[in-house]
Amino acid sequence: MNDRHLQYERLIAPIENRMMRAVWRVMRDPNDVEDAFQEALLTVWKRWDRICIHPNPQALVLQICINTAHDALRRKLRQRKWLEAGAVPEDIPDSSHSATQDISGAEQETQVLHAIGLLPKNQARAILMHAVEEVPYGDIAAAMDCRESTVRKHVARARAKLRSLLSHLIPAVHKEESSHA
């Protein structure tokens, strides 16, 4: 049992499942997820010495996984020319109640992923770390090498943008908009 073995046991072994899930949740494509995961592992490998001395190595590793997956998602969206449209695609149903009911779960998942793909990198990474991986703000800040207040701003801006893109999926926002109408 060498030092590297111990380092792996301490840093990676406890979060192996979280690493895989972090990439899968963003990619959701059996064909692409393996490449993205391999890319994330390569980044971890390259930064191994830095990770070992990082104050919160596991948050950093999770961040690397999320970053890689988000980059891959953006690349994929670009390939499909989603970004050229500059907004959520036109085929997203309108926000009426009956239309909302018609959207299937799978479609909603796709819309949420596409909306996340439209976010600026830092905002997307912060909201994914916070809302999906439930990493505390302080740990996200350590991983992103910025202040906690900056992370909170990224998350708030991400929420605001997602709210405008996905209002038809959120009951409260939807209700409020309907009552104003």
């Binding site: 899968w24 997820v33 393996e34 909201i127 809302a131 929420r159």
Partner: protein, 439 residues
């Protein structure tokens, strides 16, 4: 509250729509990748020298190639690795020397980012110092003349001290000693980091420099600009027994820069009144009829550390009651019972907060914050009865009592309100401020 609900719903939507299980077949493939990765990590050579040694002990036919490779690696090490380490040492030595021989020094000591609690410090040889605290206290000192002025911006009052060795109130000059006494070499080189277009090299110290002390020091990380070889900032981690680690920072370090001499001007600003024994007595007698039970004699004691939920505020202090009620109502929705009476910390109208002490494990969401109020030496006085509108007069009298006892304020003013809102006779307010010995 509506915003909070909307945020929760948005987070929940993202969570719900992304938390899908990985198909077994995909998971198998990813696990295979992880296994390969683990093998690579475990086989990763501990350092370049060991890999070189291994290559030389392998099969004889390869030895010649290994020797050639070794020669190349040696050249690479000579050209890249050694200069880099030597360069890091030189950068550190230059920065430490500049700090040791500094003729002027400015920095900001940040105790807390949000709400902001910090101290701007300026020093110019041979003995001018200025400490400007975010909670409204400013001290300007001329050590050559053994004279200093303490400005209390909150109450627009000042105290002049002279004839003895004057010291700054927030112990900020101790940090000058820390910076000036850096040892010849760091305990650890942290590597490089790009920040704002600057290439910074980090140096870690795990114990205070000789002749100085930093209670509970876990790490003292000095980051030096490799280009200018000047100290850029310091991150300090303090770990006291039984408490979570907390971070402090020294930022905006400027060594041998041009310091504005007017910062050390000992002339009191216009409109400020001097605190003298006579003025304090007059104020006390004037306010006595309205505050029969007012005790002006500040008690110096050690406070107990506490954890609290606070609501950071800006603007008029008239919002205090409404803000305090908002915290109370939030705690009720969380089902958290406060472990003490409400309080307010009034650093400035730009940054103040109010809240309740709570159990350690409480979890809160923005805009509320869970903060740790450390134990400290404090001055304290309890005013019985309703608080009333003459806050400035009470604080003036209280601070005068503090100064008369040989102490200076070293933290934001704090008020702790006890009693039943509906029963005047049960109400009391504790005025409290962190203090440090003046000499």
């Amino acid at each position: 509250m509506r915003d909070q609900n909307a945020n929760n719903e948005m987070d929940e939507l993202i969570r719900r729509k992304t938390q899908v299980e990985i198909p077994a077949e995909v998971e198998d493939r990813l696990r295979h990748r992880l296994t390969e990765f683990r093998t690579r990590v475990e086989q990763r050579p501990p350092n370049r020298w060991r890999s070189l040694a291994y290559s030389l002990t392998y099969r004889p036919p390869l030895r010649a190639m290994a020797m050639a490779a070794a020669a190349l690696v040696a050249v690479a090490v000579g050209l890249v690795l050694i200069p880099r380490e030597a360069n890091a040492s030189r950068v550190y030595a230059a920065a430490a020397q500049q700090l040791r021989n500094s003729q002027s020094l400015e920095y900001t000591f940040v105790f807390s980012e949000l709400p902001y609690v910090g101290v701007d410090f300026s020093y110019a040889a041979p003995g001018y110092q200025r400490v400007n605290c975010s909670w409204g206290i400013e001290v300007r000192a001329d050590h050559t003349a053994r004279k200093q002025i303490v400005l209390m911006h909150l109450t627009r009052m000042y105290v002049v001290e002279s004839g003895k060795q004057v010291e700054s109130p927030a112990n900020s000059d101790d940090w000058v000693k820390q910076l000036e006494s850096l040892p010849p070499a760091a305990d650890q080189v942290l590597g490089e980091r790009q920040v704002g277009g600057k290439r910074l090299i980090g140096y870690r110290f795990v114990k205070a420099p000789d002749g100085t002390s930093i209670p509970g020091l876990k790490s003292f990380d000095l980051w030096v600009d490799a280009g200018t070889r000047q100290a850029d900032h310091v991150d300090i981690a303090i770990e006291e027994q039984g408490k979570p680690v907390y971070q402090m920072h020294i930022r905006n370090i400027r060594v041998n820069g041009q310091v504005d001499r007017s910062l050390f001007d000992l002339t009191p600003p216009a409109g400020y009144t001097v605190i003298t024994a006579a003025s304090a007595e007059a104020r006390a007698s004037k306010t006595a009829p309205q505050q029969n039970a007012l005790v002006l004699q500040a008690q110096i004691r050690q406070s107990v550390a506490l954890t609290a939920v606070v609501l950071p505020m800006t603007g008029s202090y008239a919002q205090t009651q409404a803000a305090s009620e908002r915290v109370e109502s939030y705690l009720k929705t969380l089902g958290v019972t406060p472990v003490g009476p409400p309080f307010g910390r009034f650093e400035s109208v730009q940054s103040w907060d109010t809240g309740y002490p709570v159990p350690l494990a409480t979890h809160v969401e923005a805009p509320f914050q869970l903060v740790s109020v450390p134990a400290a030496q404090i001055a304290s006085v309890v005013v019985n009865g309703p608080w009333g509108p003459d806050s400035t007069g009470r604080w003036g009298a209280f601070l005068k009592s503090v100064v008369e006892q040989g102490y200076l304020p070293a933290g934001p003013p704090m008020e702790i309100w006890s009693g039943d809102d509906t029963k005047v006779q049960t109400q009391s307010t504790e005025m409290r401020i962190a203090v440090t010995k003046a000499n």
